[in-house]
């Protein structure tokens, strides 16, 4: 991510979007480069709205978006962006009576992969990538929730997109599948621009070189996960007793209370902050404004 945006693959300037009286996005500015950017924020922060606009599905009320120098407001350029896009919406339905391979084949046609041989190769590639190759002939209605989520990721990977927009891709995945997903994203060829929203701060810390925190429709933080964790430096303690002055406190696996807040509990030890701590403090600060 760059501050001046001179080399940014995706530029977002002054983006605003309202749903009735609710302001989902309020003057969002972003610059995204190639690599993985994690989008953190609570429910209703505007993540899904932002991602749908990046995916050319939603339209902003105000502001501009540029993807690889293309303007999605222009019909021809919008189609060109879509040719380079892989999108996983937050709530994805499926043609339940299709088989896994038939669904991916259908999506591949919609992505203008029209050659039969190339389509078959592409379907086989993404099935192998998400570990569903043995389920190719299984009807979607027979898949578990986690498998369907992987199928959703697979369809986004079809056509080796330059821009991957993934809205909560790890929701519903078990720990092993989450690790496989991290491996998959880290190993994607061509160094695409990847934007993923998640509630899993450890996913962000593990695979995202860049992180954006969106709170109440505004960008509250951009930087590296380490930078985000550093915002909580000196404000995270471990103590044997709970202190009610903390913004948030929970008992850890070592049976000690981890406190995130401004005031140290009595007899507490300062501990190294995590991305989650930084996010919690940002969220608390935004909520108290």
């Amino acid at each position: 991510m760059t501050l001046d945006g001179s080399t940014a693959a995706v530029r977002v300037d002054g983006l605003s979007r309202r749903y009735g009286a609710t302001r989902a996005l309020d003057g969002v500015d972003l610059r995204l480069e190639r690599g993985i950017t994690g989008l953190l924020g609570p429910n209703g922060a505007g993540k899904t709205t932002l991602l749908s606009i990046l995916a050319t599905v939603g339209e902003p009320d105000a502001g501009r978006v540029s993807v690889f120098g293309l303007d999605p407001r222009q019909a021809a350029q919008r189609v060109e962006i879509r040719r380079r896009l892989g999108y996983l919406p937050q709530e994805l339905g499926y043609h339940r009576h299709f088989t896994v391979a038939a669904f991916l084949d259908y999506v591949a046609i919609l992505k203008e992969i029209t050659g039969r041989r190339r389509r078959a190769e592409e379907v086989a590639r993404v099935l192998a990538a998400i570990g569903l190759e043995t389920r190719a002939r299984t009807r979607i209605r027979a898949l578990s929730g986690g498998m369907r989520q992987r199928l959703g990721i697979a369809q986004a990977l079809l056509g080796k997109p330059d821009l991957l927009v993934l809205d909560e891709p790890t929701a519903g995945l078990d720990p092993e599948q989450r690790l496989r997903f991290r491996e998959l994203l880290s190993g994607l060829p061509g160094d695409p621009v990847i934007v993923l929203s998640t509630h899993q701060a450890d996913d962000i810390a593990a695979i995202c070189p860049h992180v954006v925190v969106l709170l109440q429709g505004r960008v509250q933080f951009t930087g590296t996960p380490a930078d985000l964790a550093a915002t909580a430096a000196g404000r995270v303690w471990a103590a044997s007793e709970r202190d009610d002055r903390a913004h948030l406190a929970w008992r850890g696996g070592d049976n000690r209370w981890r406190h995130v807040g401004d005031d140290p509990p009595a007899g507490a030890d300062l501990v190294a902050p995590t991305v989650e701590d930084g996010y919690l403090l940002l969220s608390h600060a935004a909520g108290s404004r």
């Binding site: 749908s52 050319t56 999108y87 919406p89 709530e91 499926y94 043609h95 919609l110």
Partner: protein, 324 residues
């Protein structure tokens, strides 16, 4: 349309056609239509100048099934919660609709099988006269028109019941014409004529006009397809083109409807009157080899079936049994 979208449309059409071919609804429609045609023709020796239309009427049942299947296919993405995902693809909604319309080719095999098998059965039962290929082809057009209507409905109304309701409406429009107003009859003029054909001693040349009937159904199919595309097309120029094509299609329907509502020429009526007044002048004898019912079959040896347009009856014709 550039090459990439055209290939996409063809690719989608291939998938949709295959789904249509494998559709259980289509199979049910085929069986239902076959059953209906059999119910209509099995009691009596069929007359081709009526049977061609009856086979076309049977295609209506298949058309209803195809309409429902096409509506389900067209509304599939929205029903499954895939609208946002589909909107992110380079393939436009109009191209998807185009693929679904082209995919109606998948309904052709069932329709052709129905027409072919029904014709073979009618012929095997010793039908009098010759089949009207144009009328039989119109039955196939009816199925395609119903499918195009299904795509149009599904593009706007994805709920699965929408197709069922419209299919019932189609059935009522076409079947219960007696309760329709004159305007309604104008939309389905062939219905009035068809039920009169069975009492005619022979075909009336050019009546009902099968070509106009087929033209009207083609107009309906085109109009439905244009409506389906108009729901999804966004570009102003494309919309203008569709509007022009829609006007042309409606004009074709009007023209074909007017052709079918033309009165029978006086010469043809006079000829008909003379045939009714003196059946022997147009009857010919054919040895009755088959009969649809056991009671008639029992006396088949002494029966001679009478057709039309033959010179004399040397073996003493008896009038053919009254139909229905």
């Amino acid at each position: 349309m550039t090459a990439a979208p055209l290939r996409t449309v063809l690719g989608l059409a291939r998938v949709e056609a295959w789904l249509q071919i494998r559709s259980l609804l289509g199979l049910a429609g085929l069986l239902g239509a076959g059953g209906l045609i059999w119910l209509v023709i099995y009691r009596t020796v069929p007359l081709w100048w009526n049977a061609s239309w009856q086979i076309g009427d049977g295609q209506l049942i298949l058309g209803m099934a195809v309409l429902i299947a096409a509506q389900l296919a067209a509304g599939r993405a929205r029903r499954a919660g895939l609208a946002d995902l589909y909107a992110s693809f380079p393939t436009t909604a109009a191209a998807r609709t185009g693929g679904q319309l082209a995919g109606l080719a998948g309904a052709l095999p069932a329709s052709l099988v129905l027409a072919g098998v029904a014709s073979a059965v009618v012929q095997a039962r010793g039908a009098i006269g010759t089949p009207d290929v144009v009328v039989l082809a119109a039955g196939v057009l009816l199925v395609i028109a119903a499918g195009a209507a299904g795509v149009a409905i599904g593009s706007r109304f994805p709920h699965p019941l929408a197709g069922v309701l419209f299919a019932l409406a189609l059935f009522l429009c076409s079947g219960a014409y007696q309760v329709l107003s004159r305007a309604g009859i104008w939309l389905v003029p062939w219905n009035i004529m068809v039920n009169q054909l069975g009492v005619l001693p022979g075909p009336l040349a050019g009546y009902p006009p099968g070509g106009a009937h087929a033209l009207e159904l083609a107009g309906f199919a085109a109009t439905a397809g244009i409506v389906a595309l108009a729901v999804t097309v966004r570009r102003a120029r494309a919309r203008a083109g569709l509007a022009a094509a829609g006007i042309a299609a409606v004009a074709v329907i009007c023209f074909a409807g007017a052709l079918q509502l033309r009165p029978i020429p006086t010469t043809a009526v006079n000829h008909l009157v003379s045939e009714v007044a003196d059946p022997a002048s147009v009857q010919r004898c054919v040895a009755a080899a088959r009969s649809g019912t056991a009671s008639i079959r029992a006396s088949a040896a002494s029966w001679r079936r009478c057709g039309h347009r033959s010179a004399t009856c040397s073996r003493g014709c008896r009038p053919r049994p009254a139909r229905r």
